[in-house]
Each structure stands twice: as structure tokens, then as C-alpha cells.
């Protein structure tokens, strides 16, 4: 036990408060900037308290042309694009990883371990390393400027397969034997027993993958040229460089605020399962 003394107590609180400020201040400034109009944001000193233009800014960002004077897509479309990409990546990854882990753990087929190691080796080859060949492949398949192009190359990954393999290995053999005696075939066993048993792990993985997909920057930047396929994360950067005029901080910050909401929503709504999935070991 740590000793309880007023001084240490004060010190720990001081450090904690400092930490909270360091994390919360940028978000607060983002929020404040999203509540003022363009002119106030270009005056020094910058405001520290919320203004009155939040709804105007939201309206202009979401449904207007966004940044005035550019040809950018409206932000609601970007949100939709990001959402589609993040969902396709996380659901696709989970589906494929579940099935491949199922095959590797529960079926005896030739070159089973070879398959496993081949999947495993791709851990060393993230998108950034194989970006040129991957682009080539995607371009040849005609998937540029499409949701498929945005998500499929990112779906291939070993982490999730590896994780589900470990999860399945913790399921007692008797569970499978019991299901066999009950007359459950492989797919029935998969859907009725394995899936419910790995429910928390799937949720944890979904949270991680959703944020991973949502935050993709480099890959969408490369393969989308059509503004209607822009994702919100890349658009924030583009807004900064937009046009010759000074940055419209109110709009940019509103966009940033909007970009934060879906990941936060996913984390909060799946928090309980997420923690269970990472800590629970017994089946």
C-alpha cells in the first residue's frame, strides 16, 4: 500500500490534473474554435471561451460547401465515406480473421502450419511498406476511387487472425467434442458455440479496428482523386492548405470535432465489452 500523506496526495493530484489539462486543452481549444465565426478566429489573442456560432458553423460545415471558396465535398459525405471505410475494414477483417483462425485451429489440412506462418509473416508488411505494389494491384483491378479500393487492401492483416487463433485455443476441446456428440457440424459449431464464446474479443477487436480504419490517412490520400470519395481525416489536412486565403479555423475545427465523434461513440458504447475482451481469459 502507498502511504497516505497530505504532501504525496497533493503531488499525485497535481500530476493528474496536469495530465488531464495536457490532454483536454487541445480538445477544449478545438471546441472553442468551433463556436466562433471566421473573423474572431483570425484575431489575436485567440478566444478561450465558447462563442455563439456553433450551430452556424455546424450547419455550414455539414451541409454547406464546407470551406468557402473550395470545391470540396460536403463534410457529411466525408463522414459517410469514413464511416463506410471504417466499417468495411473492421467488419471485413473480423469476418475473414474469424474464418481463417477457425480453419487453422479446427481443421487438419495439408500445409496448415504453412498457411498460418504465411498469414503471420504479413504482420511484417503493413500497408506503408507494400504501398506501391498494393496501389498497382488496386489500380489494375479498377478499384481506385471506390469503397472497395479504400477498404480491401487494409482488410488483409494477420493481427486479428492471430488473436482469434489464440482465443480459439483457449476453448476447451470438450466443447467441440460435446458439440460433435450433439450433432453439430463445423459451421454450426462455429456459429452456435465459437462466435458467442468470442463475443467480447470480437467487440474489443471491433473497437481497435474501427479506430484504425477511421484514422487511415496515407492510403485514402493515395487512391482517391475524386472529391466525392474524400474521407474526413484527409480532408482536415487539405483544408489547412486550401486556397490562398488564411485558414478558416472555425470550419476546420468543427470538422475536426465531427471527426472525433464516431470513434468516441464506438469506444463509449463498447467500453464494457472492450475491457472484458482484453482481460477475460477463462472460457
Amino acid at each position: 500500500m502507498v502511504e497516505r500523506r497530505p504532501l504525496t496526495s497533493l503531488l499525485t493530484h497535481f500530476v493528474l490534473v496536469l495530465g488531464v489539462i495536457a490532454i483536454a486543452l487541445p480538445i477544449w481549444i478545438t471546441f472553442v474554435a468551433a463556436t466562433h465565426d471566421q473573423f474572431r478566429m483570425n484575431q489575436v489573442p485567440l478566444p478561450l471561451w465558447p462563442g455563439t456560432h456553433l450551430w452556424d458553423n455546424l450547419n455550414q460545415t455539414l451541409f454547406g460547401a464546407g470551406l468557402s471558396g473550395t470545391e470540396g465535398a460536403p463534410v457529411w459525405l466525408m463522414l459517410l465515406n469514413s464511416l463506410a471505410m471504417a466499417m468495411m475494414i473492421s467488419l471485413g477483417k473480423i469476418a475473414i480473421s474469424l474464418l481463417s483462425a477457425f480453419a487453422i485451429v479446427y481443421f487438419r489440412f495439408p500445409f496448415r502450419m504453412t498457411c498460418f506462418w504465411m498469414i503471420f509473416i504479413t504482420l511484417m508488411l503493413p500497408v506503408e511498406v507494400r504501398i506501391l505494389p498494393t496501389f498497382e494491384v488496386v489500380a489494375n483491378l479498377g478499384m481506385l476511387n471506390s469503397y472497395w479500393g479504400l477498404s480491401i487492401p487494409l482488410i488483409a492483416s494477420a493481427t486479428a487472425t492471430f488473436m482469434f487463433r489464440q482465443v480459439f485455443l483457449t476453448v476447451p476441446d470438450e466443447m467441440l467434442e460435446s458439440a460433435r456428440i450433439d450433432g453439430a457440424g463445423p459451421m454450426r459449431f462455429f456459429f452456435d458455440i465459437l462466435l458467442p464464446l468470442s463475443r467480447t474479443n470480437i467487440a474489443a477487436l471491433f473497437v481497435i479496428l474501427f479506430i484504425f480504419g477511421w484514422n487511415q490517412y496515407l492510403w485514402p490520400l493515395l487512391i482517391t482523386t475524386d472529391t466525392s470519395m474524400t474521407t474526413i481525416v484527409m480532408s482536415i489536412k487539405q483544408m489547412l492548405e486550401a486556397a490562398e486565403q488564411s485558414p478558416q479555423w472555425n470550419i476546420i475545427m468543427t470538422t475536426a470535432l465531427l471527426a472525433m465523434i464516431p470513434p468516441i461513440f464506438v469506444v463509449i458504447s463498447m467500453q464494457k465489452l472492450f475491457v472484458q475482451g482484453l482481460t477475460e481469459t477463462d472460457k
Binding site: 476447451p172 470438450e174 460435446s178 460433435r180 456428440i181 450433439d182
Partner: protein
């Protein structure tokens, strides 16, 4: 009619043979216990009957039908596992109904069977709970319920009581026996506990190192053990073994003491060495008895007293079990005699019983 026939059954993992030419016929409604030390192949044998392990050679037939190649679900069996193997995410009701649902029975029929089984096992009030909300004994009942609802031709039990505490084990043992008698389903039960085996089984199959040592009723195994292994395995405390020889119709212990010999087959050569087996409870205190024990430890069990010691004049360990309380000091000598018909003779080389 669900009789089981095992014909020349062998199991190998790669080049290692773990079960050797197992033969056995189990008649309809019989309760068979396969017993043996860990690693003797008893679970493997059960799992082969269940269809969870492949058969290397030989044949398993259930109700006259060869089942070697059949999936477990097609063999019309039900199995109770040591760790119960209940599906943790399903309620007790769903656990019991799962197999029936797959077999596409009607909802009403499933409900009827589940509730009937729940009544038999007195778990009706737990039907909507999850397995983790139940105690070990209750889970055990659910596991049996899952077997009962299938209404199978054969029950298979794989050490189902070894995760329970001693008191509950005794209680569940009786319940399993009563249940099996009531349902009249052919059952195979695997255990390493010889008391469990003796109390449950109509007949016992004693396995050792992948060989069937003996297959018979508990009393046959107790009265006429076929080998040194069975003799030592069945009965508690274990049988005493003393080297001896046969000379002119008499049995001479290594210390030179002469005992009245049991009936020995004629072809047993004179002067041949034998291994004498005598159960501790068959040593009767007798002032002038030939078997003298130098007692070095006394265990008071209440109903009887165990005298541990050495056969006087030798280094052979010997135990006597005497009814009631006996005042015995370590270091004292006690004399015993044993009825000739309660002596067992074994060949010291093959360790097989010498027919008497």
C-alpha cells in the same frame, strides 16, 4: 437392445500402440466400469466408443451395427465429460435442448423432454440459469440431463465425479447408479477410483498399460483376481504379496513358515516359487497363527484397525486389518492365520493367477 461388442480393438498413435487387442461384450442395460491407473488407456477406449478417437484396428458394434466409421452424433450415444463441457453462453435449458434442436425435434417435444429430465434430476428451478451460476454438483446434474434428454442407446461417462468434493461424490455416485437402473440404458463409466468402480459397476474392466487385465463382476475381481495387478488394484488397503514356494502340498513362506496351501492344480511343479497374495482383512488374529507381524505402525480407523509392519524374520511389508479397536504398540508382535481358500497364488514371472 443396445449391446456393445468390442472385437480385437487396437489403438495406435503413430508407432506407439496404446490399446492392445481389447475384447469385450456388454449386454443391454449393463453398467460397465472401466478402471485403471492414469495413462492405462481407459479414456481412450471410451472415446473410441464415443467416436471421438479413430479406431486403428478391430471393430466396435453398438446394437449389432458396426460404428467404427460413424460420426459421434450418428452412434446414438450420450457422453458426460469430466469438466462437464457445458456451453457457457447458453442457459441450462438451452444446453439440454441443443442436441435436440439440431435433430430438428418439435418445440413441444424438446420442452417435454427437457422438463422431464429436469424433474428426474431435480434441477427444474435452475433451467433458466447460466452454467457459471451453478455449483459443481448442479453442473454435473445438467451434464447428465443433457445426456438423458437425448434418450440414447448408450451412456458414456468420462470420470464425471472427479471434480466434485468427496461427500458430493459419494452422493452423486448413488444417484448415477439409481438413474441408470431406472432408465435401463447401457452405460460405460471410466474412473481411476476403485471404490467408485466397485460400487457402480455390474462388471468391471480393469485396464493396465493398454491391456485388459480382467473383465468381471466386482466380486469376481475381489475373490479371484486374475493377476497381481488386479489383486493389488481392487480392495483397500491393498493386498499383501509375499514370496513363497510350494512343497509337497504345503506353502512355505520365505521365512520358512509353513501354511496350509490352497488347492493347487496338479501341473504346478513341486518346489516352484509362487507369489502369495492375502488381503489385510483376511488375516485373522490367532494366538498360535503362523503369520507373525512385527508391528511398526498402527492406524485406528474406528470400525477397524490397520496394523502395518514387517513379516517377522523378513523385510516384507505386510498390513493386517482387524475389526474393532486393537491395543497394539509399535514394536509388538502379533500373530495371524488365514483360511487357505482366501489365499491367492500368482506366478511370480507372468504375474498371472495360478488356478486353484
Amino acid at each position: 437392445m443396445a449391446e456393445i461388442k468390442l472385437t480385437d480393438l487396437t489403438k495406435s498413435y503413430g508407432p506407439t500402440e496404446v490399446l492392445h487387442h481389447v475384447e469385450g461384450e456388454i449386454s443391454d442395460g449393463e453398467f460397465i466400469v472401466i478402471v485403471g491407473p492414469s495413462g492405462c488407456g481407459k479414456s481412450t477406449l471410451l472415446r473410441m466408443v464415443a467416436g471421438l478417437e479413430t479406431v486403428t484396428s478391430g471393430e466396435i458394434a453398438i446394437a449389432g451395427r458396426r460404428v467404427n466409421e460413424l460420426e459421434p452424433s450418428a452412434r446414438d450415444i450420450a457422453m458426460v465429460f469430466q469438466n462437464y463441457a457445458l456451453y457457457p453462453h447458453m442457459s441450462v435449458r438451452e444446453n439440454m435442448a441443443y442436441g435436440l434442436k439440431i435433430r430438428k425435434l418439435s418445440k413441444a417435444e424438446i420442452n417435454r423432454r427437457v422438463e422431464e429430465a429436469a424433474d428426474i434430476l431435480e434441477i427444474r428451478q435452475y433451467l433458466d440459469r447460466k452454467p457459471r451460476q451453478l455449483s459443481g454438483g448442479q453442473r454435473q446434474r445438467v451434464a447428465m440431463g443433457r445426456a438423458i434428454v437425448r434418450d440414447p442407446q448408450v451412456f458414456l461417462f468420462d470420470e464425471p465425479l472427479s471434480n466434485l468434493d468427496a461427500k458430493l461424490r459419494v452422493q452423486m455416485r448413488l444417484e448415477i447408479r439409481k438413474l441408470q437402473q431406472r432408465l435401463g440404458v447401457t452405460s460405460i463409466y471410466v474412473t481411476h477410483d476403485q471404490v467408485e468402480a466397485m460400487t457402480l459397476g455390474d462388471r468391471l474392466m480393469v485396464l493396465n498399460g493398454g491391456y485388459v487385465e480382467q473383465f468381471g463382476t466386482p466380486i469376481e475381481l475381489y475373490d479371484r483376481p486374475a493377476s497381481v495387478f488386479v489383486a493389488g488394484f481392487i480392495g483397500s488397503p491393498a493386498m499383501n504379496f509375499l514370496p513363497a514356494s510350494i512343497e509337497a502340498e504345503a506353502l512355505i513362506l520365505s521365512t520358512g513358515v509353513q501354511l496350509a496351501a490352497p488347492q493347487v492344480s496338479a501341473d504346478l511343479a513341486q518346489n516352484s516359487a509362487v507369489l502369495l497374495g492375502v488381503r489385510p482383512e483376511h488375516l485373522v488374529p490367532d494366538e498360535i497363527g503362523p503369520i507373525v507381524i512385527d508391528v511398526d505402525m498402527v492406524e485406528q480407523l474406528g470400525a477397524n484397525t490397520l496394523l502395518h509392519g514387517k513379516l517377522s524374520g523378513s523385510q516384507h511389508e505386510i498390513v493386517a486389518s482387524v475389526p474393532g479397536h486393537v491395543a497394539a504398540e509399535p514394536g509388538s508382535k502379533h500373530s495371524f492365520s488365514a483360511a487357505p481358500e482366501l489365499l491367492h497364488l500368482f506366478d511370480p514371472k507372468t504375474e498371472k493367477r495360478l488356478e486353484t
